[in-house]
């Protein structure tokens, strides 16, 4: 089982790669930076890309995209959710 710090680091890399954020990531992209809205400025399609990323990489399925939005607040909330739900 990975530690939370390892997960945050891993998620950061995966998100940057999957969502083509290479040139856009703020220098302070840490566990607390909001993923949507003011933070990285991601939108609903990114949210769905993240849903698939969760399923492919962590075996976690969301039935309703609305549930996923509650998890995709920032890297910390995402890592916590994975630690809680990964088997």
């Amino acid at each position: 089982m990975k530690s939370k710090e390892e997960l945050v680091h891993e998620l950061k890399g995966l998100i940057i790669e999957k969502l083509n954020l290479q040139d856009l990531v703020p220098a302070n992209f840490d566990g607390e930076v909001p993923i949507f809205g003011e933070g990285l400025g991601l939108d609903s399609i990114d949210a769905i890309e993240l849903v698939v990323l969760f399923e492919k990489n962590y075996g976690i399925k969301f039935q309703d995209p609305k549930d996923a939005r509650k998890v995709f607040v920032n890297l910390n909330t995402m890592a916590d959710y994975i630690l809680e739900h990964q088997k």
Partner: protein, 402 residues
């Protein structure tokens, strides 16, 4: 001088039936085309319902009078069957047909066959009967195919603006008639179900795994459908001169863009409001004159909110009857605009409003409910029909009793 544009023919094939009379009897008896996917080969047959035309390609070829092995895609077959019915109902001669323009819409065209034979097609060492589909993958192909079958050469165009496509065909046809570029035009759209669209909409997480519930607070998304529908449009004087039976008048139309998001409508319904206003202004009608709105009503969270808000803003208080007929036909994408125009014409002809099935609870954001049961013997003179699509496209037609 602007002249009235009238509808003198229509044809339709969908999960409801193979022609307009079958579609009408299904609609009026509350019989829908909803069910399990049985014809398309997909991994989602058990989990994703749809509104499928329950005829195999071989059966459709028979209906259309087309030989096997001639490269007719399912989209082309659906298009040809509906276009032939439209021409027949307009009662125009072969020569008059040949002089007509043809404007068709699709979002996928021959993608169903392309995806089926994708790897064979890519491997130059493979050959076989699939090669009849080597050149049918582009969306304009079905239009040329039907034009060739009906002998049309005068003006041929294909429109693709996602789910509003065939409404835009109807608008363009009317404009070409008004500009006297054509005397008669066949307009509409065709769409076959494909793994491409099913998986695309599934990936966007906007497919309901049950029967769709437009404008319901607990709506879960749309159901896909397939089919085709075409109208024959003429200038009123041309139609009257040949003693044509006039089915309805196209009194107005509007096209706008929401300019908000590639796959989502704005929460304030700006684009939808604008296209409805444009159609009403062109028609010269007052808000009070509008008896019924055949809504786009896909049952996605986003569309119904945006469209509902726009309707509410436009009519502020005194609303006409509203229903989405997508629980009958499914969302037939590019064919939805012309199919719902045909359904709106049935409403005008028979003075009956088809219900918005599966509605139980009011959306918290809206103060109106759609019609939940069949409304018969209503005076319906003017109908607004909405069609909105990805890319922010919003289109509205106004159809009126002649």
């Amino acid at each position: 001088m602007s002249e009235k544009i009238v509808v003198t023919g229509m044809g339709m094939i969908s999960s409801l039936g193979v022609n307009v009379p079958e579609s009408y009897s299904a609609l009026v008896s509350g019989k829908t085309g909803f069910g399990k996917i049985e014809i398309l080969e997909t991994a989602h047959r058990e989990s994703i319902p749809a509104f499928e035309v329950k005829w195999t390609d071989a059966q459709l070829r028979e209906w259309a009078g087309v030989e096997d092995g001639t490269g007719y895609t399912r989209t082309s077959l659906l298009a040809l069957i509906a276009a032939k019915e439209a021409v027949q109902s307009a009662n125009i001669s072969q020569v008059e047909t040949a002089q007509s323009g043809f404007i068709s819409a699709t979002t996928t065209g021959g993608i169903r066959e392309l995806e089926k034979y994708f790897f064979e097609m890519k491997d130059p060492n493979k050959s076989g009967t699939f090669l009849q589909f080597a050149d049918t993958g582009n969306p304009g192909e079905h239009t040329e195919r039907v034009a060739d079958a009906l002998g049309l050469t005068k003006y041929i165009a294909t429109v693709s603006t996602a789910c509003s496509s065939s409404a835009n065909c109807i608008m363009l046809g009317a404009q070409l008639l008004k500009a006297r570029k054509l005397d008669r035009v066949i307009v509409g759209g065709a769409e076959a179900l494909s793994c491409f669209t099913i998986n695309g909409f599934l990936a966007l997480m906007i497919l309901d795994k049950g029967h769709c519930r437009p404008f319901d607070a607990n709506r879960k998304g749309l159901n896909l459908g397939e089919g085709a529908a075409y109208l024959v449009l003429e200038r009123e004087l041309t139609a009257m001169a040949r003693g044509a039976k006039i089915l309805a008048t196209l009194t107005g139309y509007g096209n706008a863009n929401d300019a908000f998001h590639q796959t989502a409508s704005s929460p304030d319904g700006a684009g939808a409001l604008r296209s409805m206003q444009l159609a009403i202004v062109m028609s010269g009608l007052a808000l009070d004159d509008i008896d019924y709105i055949n809504a786009h009503g896909t049952a996605t969270e986003n569309n119904d909110l945006s469209e509902g808000i726009a309707i509410q803003k436009l009519f502020s208080g005194k609303l006409p009857m509203v229903s989405s007929t997508k629980p009958f036909t499914g969302h037939t994408l590019a064919a939805a605009g012309s199919m719902e125009a045909a359904i709106s014409i049935l409403t005008l002809q028979h003075q009956v409003v088809f219900p918005n099935l599966n509605f139980t609870s009011l959306m918290p954001e809206l103060n109106f409910s759609p019609e939940v049961s069949l409304r018969q013997n209503r005076s319906v003179k003017n109908v607004l029909s909405n069609s909105f699509g990805f890319g922010g496209n919003t289109s509205t037609l106004m159809l009126s009793a002649h």
